[in-house]
Amino acid sequence: MNTLLKKSGKNLFNSIYIEENAYDYPITRMVLEKFPDVPVITIRNYKDIFNRGNQCFQLQKHRQSLILAVKSKQFLYKSPEVCQDFGYSNFYYTSFILNCIFNCEYCYLQGMYPSANIVAFVNADEFIDEIQNTLAGKKAYLAVSYDTDLIGFHNVIPYWNFLQDFFAQHPDINVEIRTKSANEVFYSEIQPAENTVIAFSLAPQEIIKKFERHTPPLAARIKAVKSAISRGFKVRLCLDPVILNSGSEKLYEPFFRNLFAEINPDKLKDVGYGFFRMSKDLFKRIEKQNRKSQIFADDYTIKEGIVSYPPDLIKMVMDNHLKVLQEYLPKEKIFTL
């Protein structure tokens, strides 16, 4: 269990905002039981809180509040181009939660939302209905831990408990749950399934320490990966985003070798690999917040509206990294972007 969730509810959330029409849902009742000491504030619409002006994202990040809301429209979105589609043309994502309990310095959510508070939608059934209406019968790929970390949040709201039966009945819908969490309890509580992939985001420990605040250390995440594999889950490793900052590209080869010394590559479904990248608009918005961020002060190239490292540098580093990765995995198991 990550250290954030080990804290008492009082420390985990500054306040709990609840939409008037969100009270009568099992998720809301569950949260209220779990955090009896946190001040509760009734609101009309989550946007009244979430979209306020003059919110300080980084300060709120240290004192996050939870907003429980009822989502009213668009439960599914087509995936943007900057994401790996793993070969699926019907690639969708859904957001049961907006924002994440972690605070990674490179995270695009800082520019996407005006608030660092976490919005959790309580009408999971309506999400499921919409997924069924849109995707049932199609060979589809659905990212369910998008704009958040569903497993990292499992101890607050166990969304997967509401979802696993539905996905077990729809084997054509392939589900990816991406996480940085080391919450091993998750893998003992839920059932593995053929159409469900747990995608672990991993990085060298130095990168985690420097840029992935509040996330579990690499060793804990590797332990969770092993635990998921041993319980029969399909596992993907996401070596993404690769950060090239002050010579950090050199950290990756030993990191890869250590990773595959610990984790049997034959047991993996596949591996995703990609560099730090972000849409120009999001990048500018985060840069404007004037934080003391090294990542957002670095030199980048803008190509087709995406901010990333210069293509020559990407090619050189990627060639070197892929050489190492291909010592452990066949080419077709490595997806790059």
């Binding site: 300080c56 004192r63 670095d298």
Partner: protein, 279 residues
């Protein structure tokens, strides 16, 4: 700067005494009292007056992102959960006239009960109430919130309410009310310290000296606007990386470029200098 807005002199007096604030005699529309980093204004009763006074105070002394706006005043309630004189923090303010809700981010005052406050345009009496719902009523908070939306971060506005009565305004006693403020002064002081501390811990990179120097270099060396933007970004980057961009900039202070071409050469040289770690 900490800005405090109270409706009445009765509410202000104990705060003025506690922080040893001095009346600013140059200001006439309002009574304004000032210390080194605290300014207090007596707004008069009502949300319009509190909004006007908040903006007036901000225009006088406002300096930037870390300014804090605090409203301290009385509220009436029909709830017997709290004694009169209890200090409460508003975590939701509803303007009864417009139906608009306001939400400050309450990061301070651990242990102080939080309540929703209803802001009315006139004094509320228990005999006016038609429903039994718990109410906390005041007359200034909505004005404070509306004004703060423009100028303050949502965590830097705080509405502190002290229970004056159980919606029986005819029974109010001035001496008692003053004592309610007095007995809460140490808590107010500690909240102000908390707010300052939080903002200090979140200070942005201070590059004020560099910014001034960039301005003069751009004029003297005939830099274009685009060059100024690049130079500013380079200076920020150097600051984040722990270098000392100021010393690099200083080397070029006082130099004049005779042409844009010459300026361009200086520009490239300055950028190169800033990027050198050994500067």
């Amino acid at each position: 700067m900490i800005f405090i807005v109270t409706a009445l002199m009765l509410e202000a007096a104990p705060i003025i005494d506690y922080f040893k604030l001095k009346k600013d005699m140059t200001i006439h529309p309002y009574s304004v009292y000032k210390g080194s980093d605290i300014a207090l204004i007596v707004s008069g009763v009502g949300k319009l007056k509190s909004a006007m006074a908040s903006v007036f105070l901000y225009n006088l002394y406002g300096s930037g992102k870390n300014d804090v706006l605090i409203n301290i005043g009385f509220c009436g309630t029909n709830s017997k959960r709290f004694n009169t004189g209890s200090l409460l923090i508003a975590n939701k303010i509803t303007d009864i006239d417009t139906g608009m809700d306001y939400y400050p981010d309450v990061f301070f005052g651990e242990g102080i009960p939080q309540i929703p406050v209803q802001c009315y345009s006139k004094v509320v009496k228990s005999t006016d109430l038609t429903e039994q719902k718990e109410l906390f009523c005041d007359m200034e908070s909505a004005g404070i919130m509306e004004a703060s939306k423009k100028f303050f971060f949502s965590h830097n506005v705080l509405v502190l309410k002290i229970i004056s009565d159980y919606l029986e305004p005819e029974k109010l006693d001035k001496a008692k009310l003053k004592s309610y403020i007095e007995m809460n002064m140490t808590i107010l002081d500690s909240i102000i310290k908390e707010m300052k501390h939080l903002n200090e811990g979140f200070i942005e990179l201070n590059l004020e000296a560099e910014k001034d120097l960039i301005e003069s270099l751009c004029l003297d060396l005939r830099f274009t606007q685009a060059m100024k933007v690049i130079l500013t970004k380079e200076v920020k980057r150097a600051g984040i990386n722990g270098l000392e961009p100021l010393s690099s900039l200083k080397e070029f202070n006082g130099i004049k470029a005779d042409s844009k071409e010459e300026g361009k050469k200086y520009f490239e040289y300055i950028i190169k200098k800033i990027r050198q770690k050994s500067v």
